[in-house]
Symmetry: C2
Subunit: 164 residues, 2 copies
Amino acid sequence: MEQIEIETYMQMALAEAQQAAALGEVPIGAIVVKNGRVIGRGHNLREQAQDATAHAELLAIQDACRTIKSWRLEEAALFVTLEPCPMCSGAIINARIGAVYYGASDPKAGTAGTFMNLLTDTRFNHQAAVYPGILATESQAQLRAFFRAIRAKQKAAKKLRQQG
Amino acid sequence: MEQIEIETYMQMALAEAQQAAALGEVPIGAIVVKNGRVIGRGHNLREQAQDATAHAELLAIQDACRTIKSWRLEEAALFVTLEPCPMCSGAIINARIGAVYYGASDPKAGTAGTFMNLLTDTRFNHQAAVYPGILATESQAQLRAFFRAIRAKQKAAKKLRQQG
């Protein structure tokens, strides 16, 4: 895939992440593309849905399966703003996604290069090509801005409590 | 948890797996229990739903989150007839499930002891206690009977084609 195309899809994933942020969710977004067509979209909805599995990648994969009416997403590529966790890496393997492009690395749960790389582990029955660091600066900036805003809110709430 | 209680819940998971088999799905079933109450159930629905994420454990965890209206399944236990794959192990970590009891080991994708143990990896922000081999014989027998029936069907179909 050409760099301009890769960045265009990652911009779409960043826009999904922004939708999560607007709902007060940690901004993570994902897109599934097959044959030049976006077949799946998702953004983190853990708090809104109160569902531990409502990660951006999982929702985008489920959306893609619905779109093409198949659990097999062979030759599809997944774009996600943050490195996948074990659950999402496993979903990528289960769906047989061909390539994964991600933005920021995840030092807390990353399993596509940080703690391990489940996606290239040949003991599983499928491997995906992994391309890290795509628009990583933008993804990190989005995450940092979100957590900065949360901390500012918490500080303001604490100040209010102390005054009251 | 007492052995009799553990086996009772695993029998429920085996009954879930039987429901999957009745639908032509690989028989895998799961149950989530919290404070002596079954709060989630699921059985493999990958083919019926054409959804790569429709594994027994993931569906049971989603069901449990809906039941208690929370993504945090702390102090809950998951019972599953087959060792969890990376996706389901990741979902268990994400939901902060306290204990996992499983039946048969999975030589193809097991990540709760076979290839690795994601559930006890202290690099993640949560660990679960893992109890393998619960009613493993029953779980294996269920899986073997299913695949034996599939092979018999395939053989009969081949014979019919050769005769036709």
